[in-house]
Symmetry: C2
Subunit: 371 residues, 2 copies
């Protein structure tokens, strides 16, 4: 009887430990933690390892409060204190824009930081990703992100751009650097790459690991948002091309220690910024030597036939977009003798995580010539 009892306890113990391990694993998956891009001191919004977003807001008198993310509105639930809490279905890894709906009013979540995208400053959330380390703030030397206001005669304005300079730029006072001109997409602006794009941290981390040589990145507004979405076919590239090529580039080459020539100048863009990159690199073969399109079109070999071959053509997309089109375009370019590279971001769609990864993949391929 005693042996039986001991055996029973042993079995129960093993069973309960296994069960406990399963539960702990499930708990970890379900555990909600504050999003890393919250307002200082704010616990909500939260995310869990499955990619669900949970948020909370006090609205004692409201009839209906919804979490509006990824094109879906999730009803939230009110407690006795008038605080509403709600959760979304799992989202893709990486960064997403979202908002709250309070009795029909679309407003930013007061708990999150704000980002410019979808044509407004509004809420953003960061869903954990297996590779999030590459854009994390780490204890490494950091470059700077400088806001400049450059004169533009063609638009009769002072225009804003952000300039990433790599660590050591202020100290190495004789060194000159190549430059990447990097464009945002429709509904975004010149703040989108340095904020939600983490362009500076991606560069800092790559440099700290010795994976790239230092270069400057310039990000300005692509004048994309005044057209109606869907009116893309009527978009005229000339006004922005003039600002970029005739006004911004000379300003940068005067005010920064650049290697001011085609060999050391690249252009890249995402979505509509990719469309702009394609048009401008095709119109101005004498200005850029490296071309990169993220989630926005491809080059056909015949489009590049009137010129010296670009040093690099890079084309990327999310696996949930149209990876086959990108792969086949790059295959055609390679067959035609171009140095073309494709990249597909796994498990992501037309969002910033695809574009952060694209920049991370592109950077080591840029300016691989003797600098």
């Amino acid at each position: 009887m005693k042996a039986f009892k001991t055996l029973l306890i042993l079995i129960l113990t093993i069973f309960s430990q296994a069960n406990f391990a399963q539960t702990a694993e499930a708990n970890r998956e379900n555990e909600f933690k504050p999003s890393p891009v919250n307002q200082p001191g704010s616990n909500y919004p939260m995310v869990n390892a499955k990619g669900q977003v949970r948020t909370q807001i006090s609205a004692p008198e409201a009839k209906l409060v919804q979490l509006d993310i990824g094109g879906v509105k999730y009803d939230m639930v009110k407690d006795e204190a008038g605080v509403w809490t709600g959760e979304s279905a799992p989202q893709d890894v990486g960064f997403h824009y979202y908002q709250l709906n309070i009795d029909g009013a679309s407003v930013p979540d007061p708990g999150s930081l704000y980002f410019y995208g979808a044509n407004r400053w509004g809420s953003g959330i960061e869903v954990p990703s297996p590779d999030e380390d590459f854009f994390a703030m780490k204890n490494v030397p950091h470059g700077n992100v400088e806001q400049i206001l450059f004169p533009s005669k063609s638009t009769n304005t002072s225009r804003r751009a952000y300039v990433y300079t790599p660590p050591g730029y202020g100290v190495n006072r004789q060194e000159r650097y190549p430059v990447l001109y990097l464009q945002h997409g429709y509904g975004e602006n010149e703040t989108s790459w340095p904020n939600q794009g983490r362009a500076n941290l991606i560069m800092d981390n790559l440099l700290a690991e010795g994976k790239i040589r230092p270069f400057i990145i310039v990000m300005t507004y692509g004048m994309t948002n005044e057209i109606e979405f869907g009116g893309l076919k009527d978009f005229d590239i000339k006004p922005f091309q003039t600002v970029l090529v005739d006004e911004l580039i000379p300003y940068i080459d005067t005010n920064y220690r650049t290697k001011a020539n085609k060999k050391h100048r690249a252009m890249a863009g995402l979505s509509m910024g990719a469309f702009e990159t394609k048009l401008i690199t095709l119109n101005k073969p004498e200005v850029f030597s490296h071309y990169a399109l993220f989630s926005g079109g491809t080059y056909q070999p015949e489009e590049l036939q009137d010129r010296a071959k670009p040093a690099l053509v890079f084309i990327s997309t999310g696996s949930k977009e149209r990876p086959d089109a990108v792969k086949s375009a790059v295959s055609n370019l390679k067959k035609a003798g171009f140095n073309a590279v494709s990249y597909v971001s796994e498990e992501t769609a037309h969002e910033f995580h695809t574009w952060r990864r694209s920049l991370y993949q592109l950077a080591p391929l840029l300016f691989k010539i003797e600098q």
Copy 2:
């Protein structure tokens, strides 16, 4: 009869013209225009010349929507389409934080840009002021505002600061510059001076008019917001003093072309940043030569007696704060032989317009030595 009729018409005409002129004047006063710090493309919030704020939001299902500004909540009114519109009483000239209340939820107005103050990123509005030209974006050479992430051993973090460099900094590659360290107030952070404070535009305009000689401004987070408001007496300046004096200043002097000595180093701050400025300048007489307090305390002559006289002591306040205390403190300092200057911002209270004006008054008095 005809003469009488003519006279009558004449009288009526004159009367109606006078009346029209009065009406036109009243209309101008009442006319609402979009605030200059709105989101791109947003007509609301608006302001008029009297300083009233009007805003609008669609919230078809809401029971009560309020405009919450200057400590007062103004009920808004719903139209048939479910759009709520409301107006405030006249506000002081200059910049104010505000928010909306939708059925009990405090949220940012989706129409405005967002600013860090009152311990959150939230809505801001700009009420017209007679002197708004001094911080306007003009067609003049512009300096840059650079985000740096500097290493801090004492806090084991990379810490953010913004560095204003004057126009020409990137071109005049041998020139060295004096530096002003400029602190925000409680509930604000290192973005507050470059955003709502317009520190860079104030400098650009002063430089364009030849009213000042160029210097650098450094703005970092004063570690003020972790304490409870009202817990000021328990505030320990040491952690921030270490970050500023032992970590940030050496980083700036290494990475920027500064005149790295006491004679060319100033410290100023607003509200709790003034309190920090006072503590640090008193603790570190060997580091700074110019001291400025905006809306936050004064120096007594006996507090400054253990040291070489500072080159300048500047103390300012809004006329709606405690101007007499500032004037009398400066009068005492002058009697004791200090180069002390007071400034009172007319018709403003404990808000950013007082501090923008204070910076505008302070800048020409700084570094008036042979540079």
